[in-house]
């Protein structure tokens, strides 16, 4: 798998030692022994077992997944309406016990869910802890089905309830690390994060799935996935949700909470680069689900290899060496330097004359790219510096690597933020 020596991917997540930062998130890929064995063989450092509840097990609907496809026809996100484990609790616990003995260097976290009753949370937590898991994850995030029964996001969206449930579990399992899994379906992610801290959680897992309808079947006139002519909102996941997850992890980290609780980041992670970005924003480890569901457990091979090479190239000896390095650069808009200026520069020698930069700027931005006819025939695309606001749109649509550069303008001006800006009416009023 990883043939290069040097950086060590081994890491500690809320005090749990893991051979690498790659865990599989609580979901179908982690719902039984046969899956988890295959995942461990493929190289995953750990799994969060599919969420367990008290017996009798839930009953699931058919079908379960909707898909959101990108322009190339491949899924960029899926949503699901599946519930928690639909197998008896005892079978799950016996399988966890066996796996813990067979794979002592790998991590198994028990994900649990219960109604808002002390005894329910405590008894379930103890049963699962006794199976030998290295930690517990409290499912406060599931946004479909279970929330209608007062569980999942119904608890996660009520900070007082989440804090209380966390406290009950921490009281029950003592030193065993407890992760609170957060729903992104809230206005401010800091509120449930602080509730978890108050309840005694040692870690945060985020984000759970985003409430969604994946699409509408225009023949059956029903949301997808369609269950006997009808559908329900589900949980959206996959690469499309990564920007949402990055933001929420960053918010928690830059408000100091990542120093007090470990973050196990989740949300659209499928590559080493995704993992590195979350770690740079303060995550101690990452969890993967959708990418493994779409492409199989084998994706971990390049995640490990690519992350090792990245770390070696930057002289990072371990995950801790670059964890959180980007956090200090995530600031409020009000802290941005308004005197900083960049302009697009189009390299004529690389231009293939597709016209995409022109039409994007013309219709979608600031009408700052002019088409000129070359004496030799063909077209030249010229940036009108006075109109260019440095928005990057042309660079984003250009199909040629390195054809459009965003060049800083050397204006010699000092940093100037909005609160200090002469055009800020509130500043002027204060003077």
């Amino acid at each position: 798998m990883n043939n290069i020596s040097g950086p060590d991917l081994a890491c500690s997540i809320a005090g749990i030692e893991s051979v690498n930062p790659f865990w599989l998130a609580s979901a179908p890929p982690t719902d039984k022994k046969i899956n988890v064995e295959r995942a461990f063989r493929a190289g995953w450092g750990g799994v969060v077992w599919k969420t367990l509840g008290e017996d009798p097990p839930v009953v699931n609907a058919t079908s379960r997944y909707g898909v959101h496809r990108g322009m190339n026809g491949r899924p960029i996100g899926i949503n699901n309406i599946e519930l928690i484990s639909d197998r008896p609790l005892d079978i799950n616990l016996r399988e966890i016990e066996k796996l813990r003995r067979q794979w002592p260097d790998r991590v198994i976290i028990g994900s649990i869910m219960a109604v808002m009753e002390e005894e329910a949370w405590k008894s379930l937590a103890i049963k699962v802890a006794n199976a030998g898991v290295q930690g517990l994850e409290l499912n406060f995030g599931c946004p479909h089905g279970m929330c209608e029964r007062g569980m999942g996001s119904a608890i996660g969206q009520a900070p007082a309830l989440a804090e209380q449930a966390t406290r009950w579990v921490v009281e029950a399992v003592g030193t065993l690390p407890v992760f609170s899994k957060l729903t992104p379906n809230v206005a401010d992610i800091l509120i449930p994060a602080e509730a978890a801290l108050a309840g005694g959680a040692r870690g945060l897992s985020l984000i759970n799935t985003v409430n969604s309808i994946a699409g509408v079947d225009l023949d059956r006139m029903a949301p997808m996935p369609v269950v006997d002519g009808q559908g329900s909102h589900g949980g959206y996941c996959g690469e499309a949700v990564k920007p949402i997850a990055l933001h929420m992890v960053a918010e928690i980290a830059r408000h100091g909470l990542a120093d007090r609780m470990a973050i196990s980041a989740i949300g659209g992670i499928g590559s080493w680069r995704d993992a590195a970005e979350f770690i740079a924003l303060g995550a101690s480890g990452v969890q993967v689900c959708t990418a493994a569901m779409l492409y199989g457990f084998r994706i971990v091979e390049d995640m490990a290899d690519g992350l090792s090479r990245f770390m070696r190239d930057r002289n990072y000896r371990g995950i801790a060496d670059f964890r959180g390095l980007a956090v200090r650069n995530v600031v409020d808009w009000n802290d941005l330097n308004l005197n900083y200026d960049v302009k697009a520069f189009i390299r004529e020698d690389k231009c293939v004359e597709c016209g995409r930069c022109h039409i994007a700027c013309e219709d979608g931005s600031h009408q700052a790219i002019r088409i000129e006819t070359k004496p030799s025939g063909g077209k030249r695309f010229v940036v009108i510096d006075d109109e260019c606001v440095g928005c990057n749109l042309c660079q984003h649509v250009c199909p040629v690597a390195d054809c459009i550069e965003m060049r800083p303008v050397e204006n010699g001006l000092p940093k100037l933020t909005w609160p200090a800006h002469p055009k800020n009416p509130r500043r002027m009023a204060a003077e």
Binding site: M71, N72, G73, V352, E353, C354, G355, R356, H358, I359, I371, K379, P399, V400
Partner: protein
């Protein structure tokens, strides 16, 4: 690229070999292939592929429609610019037109398969059947005669019918379609596509075809001028140019060879047949490759200039090489000796001297069974009475008007652009609009440049 079945020496091609060799040159894309290919398009603005297309099909637009699961919209967008978009998708030398200009050549080293995508979309429209997608304007009360049911005549007919005129098309052949029916390799127009396309085109209504009616034999131009409000001449170039060497009667016309094949279907040639094809254009390739596909033992193309000067595109040359056709450059026949079936081509090598093609003086004999001449076509020897001809083509002005009042002309019989199907379609479309403007201007009494109706 298609792999032709070439039997071992002395072995007959057989029915299954024939069927395989004459199956579709480019099998149609599946919907998955089309969607994947559509994704490769960059959706350029003022796209070079559109500029390169004589009919200016909105290529990025139709590919965008395919990408978004709207093949019928894509097909109608194509057909609105080029009603014979189905034939052009199959027969256009796309590598020197749209695909040659494709920006993806620069970004990925290969072009988007525009021709194949175009076929996918147009096929979808034709397979849907039902009502014709383009409505006719209110009847103008005008009648127009067209001479020639080839691409130019058919494109004119459709466009003029859409503008509300009633059309009668006179055509000398048994079936309509012109070179689409009789002049293209059969594997380019598999499954009787030319006739299916004509049937689709006629679906607009207001067009009557009169087949087997030859200008100058069955009717005269003055008959048409008398009976119709306007005449469009889409005569094509019917007369083989001829080799102009002693014994040329022993050479068969390559287009005649192709037409016979299209009429009677491919038939195995006698085992070991040696065929020489004189010429360097796509017709030479179509004849040579089809001869090989029918089991000819040896097929040689003899061209008097170098490879770069060939009218046949590099892709066509590769297709020929792929079928085992040998290409010989810088050589031409000076005499054809022998009798039919036992022919000796007397060849001389050629060279450029001070910008002129000259014989090197060398002479060698090349024995073959048949010789096909594909050295170009010219206007039929019976030129309509009183019409001005210039450089061997009917003279037209910028609006496709000939020297005679309300007689227009387009397609291969005029000089407009490259001698391609797609150019003929554009001629027909533009000539129909031009004649419509003149007809309406005459009605309104505002002069020729007046009212436009587009």
């Amino acid at each position: 690229m298609k792999r032709f079945i070439v039997p071992e020496p002395g072995v007959a091609i057989g029915e299954s070999g024939l069927a395989a060799n004459f199956s579709d040159l480019h099998p149609p894309l599946t919907s998955v292939q089309a969607a994947t290919e559509a994704f490769a398009c960059l959706f350029c603005y003022e796209a070079p592929c559109v500029t390169a297309c004589p009919t200016a099909i909105d290529i990025p637009g139709f590919i965008h429609s395919i990408r978004h699961g709207n093949p019928l919209g894509a097909g109608e967008r194509i057909l609105s610019a080029n009603i014979l978009g189905g034939t052009c998708a199959r027969a256009c030398p796309t590598e020197i037109l749209c695909e040659g200009a494709c920006v993806v050549n620069d970004t990925e080293g290969r072009a988007v398969k525009i021709g194949q995508l175009q076929r996918f979309a147009v096929d979808a429209v034709m397979e849907r059947g039902g009502a014709h997608p383009f409505p006719r304007a209110a009847d103008s009360g005008r009648r127009i005669a067209i001479v020639g049911a080839g691409p130019a005549g058919l494109a004119f007919a459709h466009c003029a019918a859409m503008l509300g005129h009633r059309i009668v098309v006179y055509d000398a052949q048994e079936k309509p379609g012109g070179l689409n029916e009789y002049g293209l390799a059969a594997y380019k127009m598999a499954d009787d596509f030319a006739q299916r396309e004509v049937a689709f085109l006629l679906g607009i209504g207001g067009i009557e075809l009169r087949q087997g009616r030859r200008l100058g034999r069955d009717f005269s131009l003055s008959d048409l001028q008398r009976d119709y409000d306007g005449v469009f001449l889409a005569l094509g170039l019917e007369q083989p140019a001829g080799l102009g060497i002693p014994g040329e009667a022993l050479a068969e016309d390559a287009l005649g060879f192709i037409a016979a094949l299209r009429r009677g279907g491919p038939k195995a040639l006698p085992v070991g047949t040696r065929i020489a094809v004189i010429g360097g254009g796509n017709t030479a390739i179509d004849a040579a490759v089809q001869a090989r596909a029918m089991g000819a033992g040896a097929v040689d193309i003899l061209y008097r200039r170098g490879r770069d000067a060939m009218g046949a595109t590099p892709w066509e040359q590769e297709l020929a090489a792929n079928a085992g056709v040998h290409l010989h450059f810088w050589t031409r026949p000076v005499e054809i000796l022998g009798t039919s079936g036992a022919i000796t081509l007397r060849l001389t090598d050629t060279q450029m001297v001070d910008g002129r093609l000259e014989s090197t003086g060398s002479i060698r004999d090349f024995p073959v069974d048949r010789v096909l001449a594909a050295v170009g076509q010219r206007l039929h020897e019976v030129i309509p009475e009183g019409i001005a001809v210039e450089n061997g083509r009917i003279r037209i002005d910028a609006e496709f008007r000939t020297s005679l009042p309300m007689v227009f002309a387009g397609g291969d019989c005029v000089t407009s652009g490259a001698d391609l199907t797609v150019q003929a379609v554009e001629d027909g479309k533009r000539a129909a609009r031009a004649m419509d403007r003149d007809l309406r201007a005459a009605t309104n009494g505002t002069g020729r440049q007046g009212d436009s109706h587009e």
